[in-house]
């Protein structure tokens, strides 16, 4: 197999890698905010339960969570395993990343001085307006570097989808490596991930720059 065929074949899987990546971000970024708000709830029970789940999601390997989401329903309730593996993969990724994002959001929200809330209250902003207009934009700027870190990790984590037999780029790479008894597909995979993250880095850098209009 020529290097070009190899790259083309793995490139096919890259679409699925991208699907995991973008769908995970699409769901986990807002879900993380919901989790963060639950975590900061004044209701101690809600806060404690949320904290418990965050700890489980951050304290166990993503690989196990993938297995649990994909095969758990079958073993526990006899529900058929999904034929489209993208569904359980994205569910597991989105939940896992939401837990990480939630803690980042929480840190960001708690870092905003109370004076901002007080000023907004006196100026007649509703609680929702205060959050959306005053707090959130400042939080986004503060947490951008941490979010970038997670996004870069996500690119690499997509390779874990192979544990539930989702045919993304790295799984195909492993298949080729095996059938060709060659290390080259791993090199190709490394280059793919590197380029992917190079793009992520550029995009996030641009976003951060955009937010640099104030300090």
């Amino acid at each position: 197999m020529s290097l070009l065929t190899m790259i083309l074949k793995m490139g096919e899987g890259l679409g699925k890698t991208c699907a995991i990546f973008f769908l995970t971000l699409l769901f986990s970024l807002p879900l993380g905010m919901v989790v963060a708000l639950l975590r900061m709830s004044k209701n101690k029970v809600i806060s404690a339960i949320t904290r418990f789940f965050i700890n489980i999601l951050r304290g166990t390997p993503l690989m196990l969570q993938l297995l649990a989401v994909t095969y758990g329903p079958y073993y526990l309730f006899g529900i058929s395993v999904s034929r489209n593996k993208l569904i359980p993969v994205v569910i597991a990724f989105a939940i896992n990343y939401a837990a990480y994002f939630a803690e980042i959001y929480r840190g960001g929200i708690e870092s905003i001085p109370t004076g901002q809330y007080e000023a907004a209250e006196v100026l007649g902003y509703s609680r929702f307006q205060t959050f959306m207009r005053i707090i959130l934009p400042q939080v986004v700027k503060r947490i951008m570097p941490s979010i970038t870190n997670e996004v870069v990790t996500l690119v690499k984590d997509t390779s874990l989808a192979f544990t539930v037999s989702y045919q993304e780029m790295f799984t195909i790479g492993k298949q080729i490596a095996n059938s060709q008894t060659s290390f080259l597909p791993f090199v190709v995979a490394g280059v793919f991930y590197y380029i992917f993250n190079l793009i992520v880095d550029r995009v996030m850098g641009r976003v951060e720059k955009r937010l640099n209009y104030y300090k």
Binding site: A177, N178, V187, G190
Partner: protein
Amino acid sequence: MKKILVLFMALVMLTALTGCSSGKDSGSKSADKKKFIMGIDPEYPPFSYLGDDGKYTGFDVEVCQAACDYLGWDLEIFAVNWDEKLIQLDSNECDCVWSGMTILDSMKEAGYIISKPYYDNTQVLVVKDDSGFNSSADLAGKLVAVQLGTSGEALLNGDLADLAATFGDVITADSFLKCFTELAGNAVDAVFVDMPVAADYVAKNAGYRIIDEQLGAEQYGIAFRSRDEELAKQIEDAVAALVENGTYAKIAEKEDYSEIVNNLIFLND
């Protein structure tokens, strides 16, 4: 683009370096007993698997242990990552791969020393009892699971590519357990798997059957590094001696190996 090139070069050099730095242990003559490291897939019963007592066992493991006893060597078992087994062999993590391994032409072409085949294997399709599939043709357009890095997968990409093309899709899972879980959970319609593994699974789990159609006959052997010619010969001679003195047959007669005993080449010659 330049950065990528540099990275690529670095990776290539790294690969080359690991290749160069090998070759220290196998030939060393020490006063101690020689240590022989056997590379196995720990999830491939009955050839090699983690026994109930938490130790690796299986037909291949027992034969290797007997061979090492015969040679007066210490046996160490190393569980390889099956789809990277040859890379691990190259990097001296083990001295051989001996674990129901299908002999592929590509291995010989890559320079590995492959022992005489000791087992004749056949691939079959496992389906659910009530599925109504009776031949590989019935599975046209259906989903079939195969374990990554197994001979079954290699066959579907090679000699049986035409058959694979008739399937709806081929799903590669990284263990047999997952292949069969996919089947149990109705995520796939059949599992393409080695005959003995299929027989073992069907015997232990109700509700499954093997489609009576032998696909892609193949043989098992032991892989050694290209420079370990002497080592390969020592092991092969030792196994031959075990066959001669009956130890081999004694192992094969065990209840655990009833599924494979008929396919063992040395006992049927």
